[in-house]
Symmetry: C2
Subunit: 235 residues, 2 copies
Amino acid sequence: MTSVTGLPTALVLERSSLFSELAESELSFLAQRAVRHQFSAGELVFEEGEPCAGLYVVESGHIRIFKSSSGGREQVLSIEGPGSSVAELPVFDGGAYPASVSALENTSLLFVSKQDFQALCLEHPQVALKVLKVVGARLRKLVGIIEELSFTTVRHRLAAYLLRLAQKEGKRSAEGVEFLLPAGNQELASQIGTVRELVSRNLSRLQSEGVLKLDGRTVIVNNMEALESEVSSAE
Amino acid sequence: MTSVTGLPTALVLERSSLFSELAESELSFLAQRAVRHQFSAGELVFEEGEPCAGLYVVESGHIRIFKSSSGGREQVLSIEGPGSSVAELPVFDGGAYPASVSALENTSLLFVSKQDFQALCLEHPQVALKVLKVVGARLRKLVGIIEELSFTTVRHRLAAYLLRLAQKEGKRSAEGVEFLLPAGNQELASQIGTVRELVSRNLSRLQSEGVLKLDGRTVIVNNMEALESEVSSAE
DNA sequence: CTGTAACCGTGACAAAAGTCATCGGCACCC
DNA sequence: GGGTGCCGATGACTTTTGTCACGGTTACAG
């Protein structure tokens, strides 16, 4: 749970990627109008297709942006932590939210209404430039997802996912590089674009091949080279 | 081939989605600096990973934005015609081109250097807003591609593609809705994210099921309802 | 303790996707 | 005409993906 008092709103905003360059006065303008919303794990923030009311800045916790299929599958587009913002885009082009957002853990978000944000943008063109940066990064990420979905197998995507984790979170231990999976198989499947069972099977297979060892959610990569070559192998 | 004289450059720019709101003076500023490049069918405009030198506005013809895999497959992200611009984004965030671009036909492009464009943006904030609009539309399109790749089959994507064409280009004829495929099987495959053979097979199958009739590149959809229900069927 | 729910692993299958090789047609060029 | 190259169709096969059903574990509530 987030501390009840927490940081002053203005400070949270200042540390966000979108508003980091604003002057004192603008920050307090925003801070006064921003509304704090709390979400518990799994709760829906908004759903694809809803008209866009405004954007959110993550204060604490993590959220996931995702599409869902009529068959019940989900595809995660991005996961955002403290300082990130969500839905800058529909605020601009006036369209509906293009995807749904839910909280991964207990999460605190600051809501900024469309009107307030647009007013701010008119007065401060550098905010629009920031938005462009953020949106640009998002676009590159989406292109990466398309590339993976279109060209690679589930096994490849899983290996790439594990490698990323190992590089970011992994600690060297006696047996290899060790880290914790941040989610269950179902969630993992949504993130790499497949179903629960395939994640389970491919993890087992990597284990039986001696690439890694599993113990609950703890992963120990015994053979980093094998994992790397799995990822860079041509397709 | 584009007429040799063609339209005055300033007029072409004015009709582009990015620069449509500029005043006379800015248009001629740009027009003087923009460089016309001609490409023949299939020619590469730039390649993924190259440092970004500037952006292009399509004067005539069509281009395709695509990723390619090491195995030789390609995935088309977007196709742009006259008035559209390409690579607005990397001009902003300073990164490399995230994908490659090639000409689909004989095509004439106007090149605007990074420097000129940035100078313009600083003076005219409304250009940045336009960029945001364009990038926004692109982002929505990419999300759509991800959704299709992640949730649907080749058959479904092909049906959706055909339906789109039928609605945009189709003429009612005695036997049904008729239109021309704008490309060969290979290119079609790149656009819906699969390989040549699967396009061929699925087209044949749709034909043998009586949904449509093929004659070279001419398609006649005999059973529009069947095609529609194919597309909207849950997955 | 016991029922229930969530999660994981797995076998058995079915369907889809992709690969490889081959054949036929068509256009174009000496 | 004969050669060459490009394109589409298709059969045979493999791999990958996805589905369904089930059983086991764990954790938590009553």
